[in-house]
Symmetry: D2
């Protein structure tokens, strides 16, 4: 069965697997205090042009989101998010489990606007009974968004400025960050994110690692005692070096970016093929997630040969599904997938 | 200054004050284990025609909501509410502070529909990845609603049935319950609520008591160890008998209902007076909260003589404000208020 | 039945009741934003000789403890307490419910020592894997302690200095503060507490009010947005002026201190009477709580006429019970109680 | 540098690494819904002789403890543990972060006694004000304990019976379970644990896996909706099959047990060698953790060649350290380590 339902159906890229194998019998200190982690942290600071950043490695995205957000907020604060944001839709209330509201705002396309943030801030702090309501303390955005969209550098600058003028932290969920950066048309890069965000993570799980996310903290106030937060939330891996080894393999010689480009090329081939077949997309293809609208017949036919994610039912009876390319997708797989759609 | 901004600007009705004074030097056991509380509980069970109900007295509404909801939900569950519900809008995230999401649904008028609940339930339990999302575990409704509306008995029956078919608890916030029952045109009474809800409270604070809410639990599973929940959430009053004494004074001879009728009569006089002055209301007047739309000039003139709550700015530059009558409002006060509006 | 089981068996002192009655029909803003609260806050700042202190009124002790401690601690921090501290023994895990550990330390007499705090701090911060353990962030002490003991001014100074050198907040639970100050032999007064503690509360519930505790915050970092914390934890009374009115009545002309002295005089008469009857005490009588050790026969005889709290079983078969005098105890009641013991 | 500070300094055993490599490019569904996980679950049920057990795979121990305990307890309940238990000493308050107290009991040797549990239960439920105190809801024990001790089958039976008579869950932390079972002199095996415990986990991280713990739930009430808990606590691995693949490799042909025996043989050689050198142990050697008491000179000399964990300072100036053997320790390494001690 061809699997296009997400970008984490397979194991790790060869660089990662090889590095894990080669270092397997090394004996190192635990909990990320080893040399591999230290080198990976150094490499990330270098790529971010941010020597004073703190870098931590966690196992997965929900864990990372929960840990950062709970560390940043005061008990009475909440986090502003698009209502399509992962923390709102697919983390089983992990943020609320730490005591904080996800303050979900509607968007047409999964992208928060600076003006929405401004309005939420004004509404709260302008209220003479503000203490009866949840105070916004952080903004959460995803790059790419949950439906494959991209913020431009300009948009990010505006959001960052709005947040910081209002005293809110800006946190960027980069579960698919490499794909986002590879797709950006305006040169958006890690250095920009380090300059604009207070915290963001470079996703490994969906981009060639077995698992792992690299969290970059730039705001001084967030750095203090952050390892306590990780440990308390169950995110401190005993064999922490596994995360350092993987990120080192991905970032040392640019494999991460090369694999990201592969996913984008496959995504464009897929988009083109769908267009040729007259299949329209719910959102414009920008990154590695595509949302074709299929007839019921097409969807059922496809299902026999390839897996996809159900996205939503359309009003006319058609169905929108999600297809993902990944670091590992081959041109042949794309063509094969297309051959099942007509 | 005339105060119409809410229904808790004044102390207690004479029956309550007198009872507190008369019993003041009695020495009783603490924490609600006294005879006054026991008699008040008995009286409430009688009024509810529900001899097996558990009745607990708490000090305020937010505390009661937080305690009941946290007691009822499993860690991964949330509570469905109208997005205008008090737990969503005015409790500073008290529900989230206990680890649970308020799952806010939009309504045109502050009233949840059975069909919305059904849809939320279907969306959740029909999802093959349901465990990635918050599970609805309870429905929260307010009677009257936060904008003064009323559920009919029929609507409540439908909601109750929908909840119980889906395995959800139904909880009714009765901060202004007396006013709601006094306003009901279909005979809705405490017995109905006891039959339809798993938990609800009879508000005292806004209806003649100094403070206090009487929580009625009918669902057997909610009753177990409930006093632990109250104590843990800081809601167990040392001199618990103060709550029993007050509810006994209010309910023994029907003062609670008489005062509620007073508030409704005053509300109707106020509505009529506003109509005569050509002032329209944002929502139809149903209970003791009125939402007149004033011109800026009217609002500013009024402000000099009487307090009100700002509700929202209208698109045409007018302002909607909230005016409340209460157990203590006199016909003279209503006429005086009206005299400031022209 | 004579009730000596605690110091909150009765209502309010006459000054409080009268003030509540006189102000009953005043209409004021809610949530503590009224003039009575403002005057009471001013009076407390004056008594504390601390014009920049923030003063908040809450309903009860558990609520106050929970709100202050949760506001002060970072998620990975805990609060050091004697293992006999109220937050450890009698609040149903209210502190843990906000996510924080009570770090209980053993003491012979309910009083934490500065050296214990120092040792806990050293053990934590000296650990190279400190992030795997709970970080102490605050010290909680009670004055008087839960078994009626008193810290001296010297001891408090030493604890305060130790806390502040280590970066820990010092919080003092003053549920019976008036009794403690009235009993102090070294002139300990509110000004000292304001100078030494970051937060403490002046207990009303057990000292002549119907209910209510006055929280004094002196540490600037604790003041920020504190009303949000109170609201979120369910502690913001709608008719907040009830608290202001009561504390004003208690503190305006010194009634609070006079009633405290009454309790102390009664306690000394009771101690003397017990001694005359050959009854020994588990702890030396210092404040208004006494812990006589009775034979089973004595305890059973007493039980028929007067209520007490069971404290603990002694190894020799005797029982230790708790007897409390209060603001309301009369010399006659003490003598009557004594007459039941022989 | 020789590393004996813990049993997770190295990667995975060859069976695990090979299985990960061989399955690396397989494309499977995520989140543990793949065939490898299913087969591993089946194998574990078989080894436990418990076909109706639910088996879940999580990444690490703190995460597993936090998830199980928070899922099992009601908000006002706590978990009884030896005060040396991992949840009390080395998880940064992860249990409290979910709202629950660790009710730590002192033990001479890290092993809870059934009689202690009984006494805690009696003290709580026999208290007429029980609702003012934390209710015990679960018992947490570790096998082996944190200082390398072992419960006998008899002791486990007694604890299990005590728990179940009192309505408490019994949960066993098996971070080093294989080593414990390999060391047991009384035939203790997985079947016994499945019969006696409501939940326990089979540790992978410290016993040949890269990471991963296999949680076995036998109590029906714990099984419901458990995947929600895992997701909410951040413990649901996207590439969940990595856990299934590893446990399958470990358990299919008994590698797990063989490696456990290796650790035990090395531990005995080490114990013997230490004895020959006149080095005494703080606790008798039972499993793979050894606690030799070294002179300062010995400790400093050893430090140059081999890493160990500092355990505690002895009163006479000596130091107790922890040395661990593991699945990977060779006889040569043990002899080399011993050669550095004299």
């Amino acid at each position: 069965m061809l699997r296009f339902e997400n970008d984490y159906t397979q194991g790790a890229c060869k660089e990662v697997l090889q590095a894990l194998t080669q270092t397997n019998m090394d004996a190192t200190p635990g909990y990320g205090k080893d040399e591999y982690c230290e080198r990976a942290r150094e490499r990330i600071r270098e790529l971010c042009a941010c020597p004073e950043a703190d870098v931590h490695f966690l196992v997965g995205g929900t864990q990372t989101n929960q840990t950062v957000i709970a560390a940043a907020l005061r008990p009475y604060q909440g986090v502003l998010s698009a209502d399509s944001g992962h923390i709102q839709t697919h983390e089983t209330g992990a943020i609320e489990a730490t005591g904080h509201r996800v303050m979900a705002l509607p968007t047409p396309d999964g992208k928060l606007r600076a003006s929405q943030i401004e309005q939420a801030v004004r509404a709260h702090f302008g209220d003479s009974n503000a203490e009866h309501t949840v105070q916004p303390g952080m903004v959460y955005i995803s790059l790419p968004t949950e439906n494959g969209g991209l913020y431009t550098l300009e948009e990010l600058k505006e959001i960052s400025e709005t947040c910081h003028k209002a005293g809110l932290y800006l946190y960027l969920d980069g579960a698919r960050l490499g794909y986002g950066l590879a797709a950006a048309q305006d040169g958006l890069c890690l250095r920009d994110l380090a300059a604009l965000c207070d915290a963001f993570y470079i996703g490994g799980t969906k981009q060639g690692a077995l698992f792992g996310e690299a969290l970059v903290l730039t705001a001084p106030a967030l750095k203090k005692d952050f390892r306590y937060h990780i440990k308390q939330r169950g995110g401190m891996l005993a064999k922490g070096r596994l995360l350092g080894v993987q990120f080192l393999a991905l970032l040392e010689d640019g494999a991460y970016f090369a694999y990201s480009r592969n996913a984008m090329e496959r995504a464009r081939e897929l988009a083109e093929g769908l267009k040729e077949r007259g299949v329209s997309l719910l959102y414009p293809q920008e990154t590695n997630q595509l949302f074709p609208i299929l007839t019921k017949a097409q969807a059922e036919a496809l299902e026999k040969h390839a897996s996809y994610s159900f996205w939503c039912a359309m009003e006319d009876g058609n169905v929108c599904v999600r297809l993902c390319t990944s670091w590992a997708t081959t041109p042949e797989q794309v063509q094969q997938l297309l051959s099942y759609i007509d």
